[in-house]
Chain length 505, copies 2
């Protein structure tokens, strides 16, 4: 049997799924005889250098899809045609034990995002997909120095357990920075998390039970949609205008759906880059107050403004009374540290800390202490001063390329900060086909449906300028523009396709 | 008004609860006039240097307990006597918005453990409470060197996002070590987590929905009980004998309760230190197989054996087919790294990775890369070779002290590895009173009820020898022994009492 199969152990696509996919492909391509016998699991496992159980899982998956049939003692055979699922496996002992999972991890709940997360990317290609900071600008030496210092000067205490809420000195540092930005906040109001993702997860899990409603902007952050999916919560999308979420429609949503929270990114909203005006911020808070609905403010990008006046956060306007605020060092500095935080009123924070303890006992003290050292030594402010103009330059570079290579009818935003812009394709361009064609031509971006809870949005694209060089930006935009010109016709793929195992965010 | 109140911002007891507790204490001590007016929230906030909202939250809490009454425009007054809850706060705008939380964080679900976690500890005292490795033996320089190396040699890639399942090279390293211990495992079978706690949490959350049953040993790991509580799952305790969980009773539990998993610590069970015999391991797996019930093996202590022959893990015996295995570097090396892992069959691992992505997008790459460097350079094996005899010595020191200072009728285990021993007090000793007396005399340990789901077990104590010096062990055991001699009579407290903000584990 010819299985054209390269196992990629670093991939996020599990090996058993890679095997199943290869068999599917071989069958479709006619390289496997319809009704023919698949190799015994033991043999294929040896050939591929994997566990037999992995092959069993692959065959099980195909059986569940009706693509193969297993006959105890005789082996596994390719189906004559696609039929209804048949869960019987090779022999009784190999029947799957693991058939029922909780809704929290049910494939149905996460499947949509899961498949999108697993974007295929040519590693030699150009990626505008991830909302990543510029890797080459991360101040590695200063970070290295901070780790060195805390391990030399503090030593074993930062290698032990610490307060679940976070390293006290880092919490002080964060509180001071938030106060400088106009917030009312004590050290005790803060919980350090593993990035903003965990902050969102803990907050949502504290308020949202199965079936509960949550107001969101749409489109919105993919990771927030994932959390809603895992909790079985109902996203209630409230439309935005140029000033941000519309308060009149918010009020209707609050009346109709009785949501448990309102999730907002008022500054450089991901993915639309929209900034909520100050008047609108006050209006949204007034509506929320009227209905006593907590507001969750995700301010991941607030410090990444390179143009225009800074607006007060919702948390600052509200005095921290009913706004739960969260942010992260991932985008400002380095995602690999996985340090974010959440600031909440005491009665909420206490519960977030409990849930954090249940989830992982607290974020690494060493990471927190080193980050604190780095920030206190002025490293973060220096870094921000350096990256802001660099991002401005890259944004301008992308705008120039768009004007040059994109057709009439394409519309894009002009962000004054953050890591990406948001673009809407003319209606006569097939967004799905363009995405596939771009990918095959070695250019990746985030298609708009990644940010919608209902699969819509394929006419939009989020283009991150932050992690690409000016040359890459010019070249990648030119490629996409050319494909649009040819209306998404497929061209020959360039480069080896491998799996992008990275989150998009 | 005299409020004898020291706010401890580093404490895990939220500030508003500290304030409420101080008011309660002042009222009880007669330092506050019954029916008298409390200071305006604004004034008390200024006096204490905290947010006004924090004081409002404290008054709200007291109001919810019926200890104070708020009258709009007039202020907040101490109740004449304890009355039914009155949720009205100072003015309408300050009424609590945050009244409904999900079962996942409901105080009722976590409250029992929460209060125990927040043990009061004299910082000048001696602690046998935490299952912590010896801090002074952590190889700080080698760890520092590993961070230095990966930041110098690899640089920005370890400061970026990585595969959610973990840093590929660390997963390889872990897989190799597991294979050396007899397991069948590929790199792709592993997910790196934030310590064993997150491994337990992800696995339980994958299988246990509200009301689902899970078989546990009782007593068992507090953190596992917390997770069960947060999920609303039902712990089904199956008794152990000297060889471990009783298979006959397990079978009855499987028939009666249809549990979704069996959670076991076969080696140096926390807290009983029991080791499941090899024959019993096979028997338990046979019973689990008969009922197709997945087994979760928590092997946090497997590599911490300092005496006696090593037994095969359940995962090794089973061939990794139906056993989900988890462990951690926290106890072997340094808790402050927060790195653990889980090994599971493909169909389970895939879901664990999805849930990990939802919870925090993956563990810090930098931590993983540095740990991998450290382990590959032989640092972990060297460290294990050094700490095993040290823990043996400390265990023996504790055994000598127990024989010398503890009364007839006290019974303790003789662990061949791990970080603590387990002791049962004679029935005429009041375990509750002894715990309080020991704490007031500056000696802390983990009382047995911490490891029970039903509050029982107060006659037992877990005494960790790992993180105390021989002198501390001698002195601490002598103090407890003396208190038992006096049958738990309280003596004058020594030292300043402050709050232990650390998890006990």
């Amino acid at each position: 049997m010819i299985l054209d199969l390269q196992i990629d152990h670093d991939s996020e696509i599990p090996v058993y799924r890679q095997i199943a996919e290869a068999i599917r492909a071989a069958a479709t391509a006619g390289r496997l005889e319809s009704g023919g016998r698949l190799p015994p699991t033991r043999d294929l496992a040896r050939q591929l250098g994997v566990n037999r159980n992995t092959v069993v899982a692959a065959y099980d998956l195909l059986a569940s899809e009706g693509r193969v049939h297993s006959h105890t003692g005789r082996g596994t055979f390719l189906a004559e045609r696609i039929e209804a699922a048949d869960r019987s496996a090779n022999d009784e002992d190999d029947e799957p034990w693991f058939t029922g999972f909780t809704p929290a991890v049910d494939a149905a709940a996460l499947g949509g995002l899961q498949s999108i997360y697993r974007l295929v990317l040519s590693r030699e290609g150009i990626s505008f997909a991830g909302s990543y900071p510029a890797a080459e600008m991360i101040p590695i030496d200063a970070i290295r120095g901070a780790f060195d210092q805390v391990l030399r000067r503090i030593g074993s205490p930062v290698l032990g357990y610490g307060p679940t809420a976070g390293y006290p000195s880092l919490r002080e540092t964060i509180a001071r920075r938030m106060r400088d930005a106009g917030s009312t906040v004590d050290t005790g109001d803060l919980l350090v998390t593993n990035g903003a993702q965990q902050a969102v997860e803990l907050v949502f899990r504290t308020f949202l039970d199965r079936g509960d409603a949550a107001v969101i902007e749409e489109p919105t952050y993919t990771g927030a949609l994932s959390v809603l999916g895992s909790l079985g919560a109902r996203p209630i999308a409230v439309p935005m205008d140029d000033d941000g979420m519309r308060p009149d429609l918010l009020e209707i949503a609050l009346q109709r759906h009785r949501p448990r929270l309102i999730y907002l990114q008022p500054t450089f909203q991901n993915p639309t880059t929209r900034v909520m005006s100050e008047a609108r911020r006050r209006e949204i808070l007034r509506v929320a107050t009227r209905y006593r609905c907590p507001v969750v403010e995700d301010d991941w990008a607030g410090e990444l403004r390179f143009e225009g006046p800074t607006l007060p956060t919702l948390h600052a306007i509200d005095g921290g009374r009913h706004v739960i605020y969260l942010s992260t060092f991932s985008k400002k500095l380095a995602p690999g540290l996985r340090v974010g935080w959440v600031c909440a009123p005491p009665v909420v924070l206490e519960r977030l800390v409990e849930l954090k303890r249940v989830e992982d006992c607290g974020t690494s003290l060493l990471l927190q202490a080193a980050l604190d050292r780095f920030v206190r030594d002025g490293g973060l402010d220096e870094h921000l001063a350096r990256i802001r103009p660099a991002y401005l330059e890259r944004r301008d570079c992308m705008l120039r390329a768009l004007r040059k290579y994109f057709p009439q009818g394409a519309e894009w935003t002009l962000p004054q900060g953050g890591l990406f812009l948001w673009l809407t394709l003319p209606s006569d361009v097939d967004g799905d086909a363009l995405f596939d064609a771009a990918r095959q031509n070695g250019v990746l971006y985030s298609r708009g449906d990644l940010f919608h809870s209902d699969g819509s949005g394929t006419q939009a694209m989020r283009l991150a300028y932050s992690a690409a060089t000016p040359d890459e930006i010019e070249s990648g935009i030119k490629t996409i523009g050319g494909l649009i010109e040819r209306r998404g016709d497929r061209t020959e793929a360039t480069g080896q396709e491998t799996i992008d195992a990275m989150p998009i965010l």
